[in-house]
Symmetry: C2
Subunit: 406 residues, 2 copies
């Protein structure tokens, strides 16, 4: 009998009726003869409510107490899900992170899972009991509750699947799977049957919201077969798997985009050794992440222009820091632009195919879309363009790489 | 330095501002040099919300999962209270029942505390840290969360005070203490400075809502000095203490009442040995509690009338059972009356004073109030009267026993 982990997100457990419906998806697996561990998020909106309570009490607060408060949401769902399963005649019980236990480090609010004890759990599963486990949380080294941060429940599910040696980890969500592109923008986008971990990792880090990079990276490292699928429709989702499981690989598997970036151009920066370090050092110290960077060739060997991107949320803070440091930098001026988007084409097939970048540049040039910045990795090409051209660019690229379906 | 336990109920922690205010009451004790353990209830209304979720999922449900869900409310308050205390510059941390641990039996939903481990807690308190403890819950023998049932947070506080050898357990609530009678009905009622455990126990079991009998009984057994006081006013409350701490004892300390009883009269019951057993046996089996009982003297030696009271909530069920058993009972008919109240005068001084009952009967007769049933204990006289006369009876008795203040 196969062990399966099923994870239900906040929308899938957003109320009594939804939890009841999710329970029917668990029953399907039980009826197939699988041993099932279920991982649940807090009911939709509940974590935000708890975070608001903490922040209203004190904008700056003890992360340990934040975790104590915020971790309560998943407990409620786990208990309710266990009851819903019992209503369907299924033997079930709820487990918190500390009961399993899911051991983590002591970085409250962003803890890392170190070890999951599975002896008791495996015995219960083998006896036909469904384990309903609180996502997003564990127990730290000094016996306090920790939470795992953004995307934590997915991570709980993947780590549990790895620890149990599960055949598959199903991530139930409100979309039907991973699409070649956002179907709200590109009508001809289609659901992928399979995608590799590396591609999914790039999709996630380049703006696709369906999975967090931490969960995908953990799945990749432990060879956990992930399935992203909809709680609400009864169709297969997208499998995220090792590359050798995919027989016929497309050159480009998907196109991602992100509206979360902003661009800063530094004009008239003295072109001398060490200027980049004195520029980016203070940003790194302030925890500001710089993504794409392009330095123009210096025309007179004296001054140059330099362009880079940061998260839109960090734009003001970055400009403040730059202005403050400009005594040392000696730049002429800083030119910010928040009206940009990053578009990325992703596919492991790029490794063995030439001309992928050329197709991208041609397609964009053909629509009169100016490329402001470019960055590449082995399986990805990203360009920064004006936000106004986002939809046009996505559709043009989707067609150019032969991804359209009717 | 004295150890003090402070317990705040749902109204006292019903929102961010109220928790902040309650934290200032903790600070007062810390500033006096006390070592303080704080026990908190769930935010007002929160436990009801959680209970509703469980009941909506399944009217009949696994008590273990009920406890898993419902115990989350106090965790939220404990974390928020710890943050509020930290905001006031006080070193504080939250503790759940399983972290302390508070060991209980495995009777989910109505667990009994068996043992509280206090070594770590005492060390923290001695180092000046305030411990904020979730009320209402513990950990059972198999490592699951248990809840203590009605009045559970008071019980947590009293048991913690006993385990810590605390000098006092302060129960902060929305009233200023224990009154001679309900001040909403008797304007001349006054707050008692002190009351004995036994009197408080009778007050609680005869309808006074300020404390639950379980908490008072536990305090009495462990000689925990209890104080009932208001979170919102800065005046001393009522101390619940051993009898020898009270120098000048009133004959009657207080007058309690309950609207929760209903009366059933069985007319024409065959007057033969064993009839009471065949009457009350099935009620006991059905978990129906019978309080007052009076059997009339049989006039012809053949048939008699018998009157008793049950909780109003059990009235219909009791009548159903009696009708079903009437083959064996052979009564002529059953006459129910829900329009009754029980009024009780309570005082340890009764032990050494005659004429207490007489004063009661005279006062009621003087207002034309008919007494339907009477029951007495060493320190209490209860009468059942028509509900219509409740307010009149309370005021008459309050005056008759010399309790009125202007």
């Amino acid at each position: 009998m196969a062990v399966i982990v099923q994870k239900f997100g906040g929308t899938s457990v957003g109320g009594i009726d939804r939890i009841r419906h999710a329970a029917t998806r668990v029953k399907q697996a039980v009826d197939r003869g699988d041993q099932v561990a279920v991982v649940v998020s807090a009911m939709g909106g509940e974590t935000n409510r708890l975070v608001d309570l903490v922040r209203t009490m004190a904008p700056v607060h003890d992360a340990r107490e934040y975790d104590a408060v915020v971790s309560s949401g998943e407990q409620v769902t786990a208990g309710l899900m266990a009851i819903a399963l019992q209503q369907l005649g299924i033997d079930a019980r709820s487990w918190t992170g500390w009961q399993i236990p899911v051991h983590t480090d002591d970085v409250y609010g962003a803890a890392r899972i170190q070890r999951i004890e599975t002896d008791v759990l495996k015995e219960r599963l083998a006896n036909g009991q469904v384990a309903v486990v609180t996502g997003f949380q564990g127990i730290g080294e000094v016996g306090r509750v920790t939470t795992l941060g953004r995307g934590g429940s997915d991570l709980s599910a993947v780590a549990l699947a790895a620890a149990l040696g599960a055949e598959r980890c199903d991530i139930f969500t409100d979309v039907e799977g991973v699409f070649t592109c956002d179907p709200r923008i590109v009508a001809k986008a289609s659901k992928l049957d399979k995608i590799t971990y590396e591609e999914m990792l790039e999709m996630a880090s380049q703006g696709a919201k369906v999975l967090h990079t931490r969960s995908v990276a953990t799945a990749m490292n432990h060879h956990v077969r992930l399935q992203v699928l909809s709680t609400f429709t009864d169709t297969p989702g997208t499998l995220v798997v090792d590359e050798d499981e995919i027989v016929e690989q497309q050159v480009v598997s998907g196109i991602a985009y992100s509206r979360d970036d902003a661009k800063i151009t530094i004009i008239g920066l003295p072109d001398r050794p060490g200027v980049a370090a004195s520029l980016f050092g203070p940003l790194a110290d302030a925890n500001i992440n710089v993504d794409m960077i392009v330095q123009n060739i210096s025309e007179d060997g004296d001054r140059t222009d330099l362009t880079f991107t940061v998260a839109k949320a960090d734009l003001d803070r970055t400009l403040d820091l730059l202005e403050k440091d400009n005594d040392k930098l000696g730049a002429e001026r800083f030119s910010p632009d928040a009206n940009v988007v990053k578009v990325s084409v992703i596919g492991v097939g790029m490794r063995s195919h030439a001309g992928v970048a050329r197709t991208m540049f041609d397609a964009l040039a053909g629509r009169g879309i100016n490329i402001q910045l470019i960055s590449t990795s082995e399986i990805k090409i990203s360009v920064l363009i004006s936000e106004d051209y986002l939809e046009l660019a996505l559709r043009a690229l989707h067609t150019a790489y032969g991804l359209d379906v009717d």
